[in-house]
Amino acid sequence: MTTLVIAEHDNDSIKPSTLNTITAALACGGGLHVLVAGHQAEGAAKAAASIVGVSKVLHADSIALEHALAENIASQVVAIANNYTHILFPSTAGGKNVSPRVAAKLDVAQISDITKVESPDTFERPIYAGNAIATVQSSDAIKVITVRTTGFDAAAITGGSASIESITATADSGKSKYMGSEIAKNDRPELTAAKIIVSGGRALGSAEKFSEVITPLADKLGAAMGASRAAVDAGYAPNDWQVGQTGKIVAPQLYVACGISGAIQHLAGMKDSKVIVAINKDPEAPIFSVADFGLEADLFQAVPELVSKL
């Protein structure tokens, strides 16, 4: 019984979501291999080899794997799939893109977004925006799984000493082509890996105000910035900041919700945070029902005051 984890990486290092996925993989039992598929990703392969619990790193190197196109990554995984009982992806945009493609090629069902491993074939996963938890059992020979990263601790990044094996890279499908990307560059932690998140809602009123009020607090706390769907829909914050059922699922040590009312879809994305602070002037806002510390106040006064007093 061996589990394969598909690493998310930036060629030089392994992304934090992979570390949570490795912890879930260890809970499945048996050996643990990590696939690093990419182009000139030796650094990432070396980093994967030092993660505690990993017994072998498979490294596939090809220009066809450079941009993690779903067609090519899936065929790379399928090529080695029969050596494994479990294939785990982090439940990130990248993992969710590729994983079902692998499952369907193998004619197995996929178990999405697991938050707990009960036994090697039984898992817990949230459904209906986290309003119910399903315990599901798979009868397939290979379990293809995506792992909700907030459900598992991160594996230790040093201390392991896995071997690295180069494997044959699959050919380009020729059916899809990477044209370019716009990835915002900043020094902030990634939203899904941040220890502290400051989030803003529709009450901010404009993109300018969002930035003017939320940014200083995030800077002060060294936090990532998030937003409610309403704020993103209104154009106050970029799409990839959306926290919620269909956006990012986060569970930081501290989540500060400013001017967010707390729709169930938003709560689904952040209610596993360790400490939740809500700043809202509406005493009836549902966000207060999940907040550890609620401050009923006008955020335009309270947030700058908070910045000055931290």
Partner: protein, 249 residues
Amino acid sequence: MKVLVPVKRVVDYNVKVRVKSDQTGVDIANVKMSMNPFDEIAVEEAVRLKEKGLVTEVIAVSCGVAQCQETLRTAMAIGADRGILVETTEELQPLAVAKLLKALIDKEQPSLVILGKQAIDDDCNQTGQMLAALADWPQATFASKVELSATSVNVTREVDGGLETLALTLPAIITTDLRLNEPRYVTLPNIMKAKKKQLDNYKPEDLGVNVAPRIKTLKVTEPPKRSAGIKVADVDALVHQLKNVAKVI
């Protein structure tokens, strides 16, 4: 060029579901059902492509119980030309739906299938990618912009940290994200018109697909409740709590 748009009938997004006391599932008796919001975006996108003259026919498909007809009528009221219902009372999991859709694309030969990225009931986020695998077509998931030409489609996708653009050779699969478009409100005349549109009915057996579930749900339970904490009087009290009580900063 034909476009196929699968649509799912789900519990309306405003409904807060309750877990049944016998832990067999959530109670969906007598709750409002609607089209999965991401699928509505998919229908809207297909109809806009038709309105731009890039597409000749939009076919809506739904798999499930007889009432999915209502969901198909909604899709046709938005502007789909006709509907196909694959009717079954069996619990349908994403792999089974992908297989039914694969059988339908073999029949209908569309150049493009646009699906919602995720259904808001099971939150699986699988069907589009699975269909792409079964058909061996390229895929662009989580689309926020679609530019279609006769032989290819450029899709801007929402990825972690920003956006990415792919060019796919047709035929291809696209799954929609929230910001792709804002679906129109359906008007009464269009609802009336939709009632007259063609709706074909199949059974999974007609398509030669075994839809038996692969994953067994052992139980469905309430999530752990998070209890409300305290209200603090002012910013000073909040800072005190965070620094000295919760010790998170």
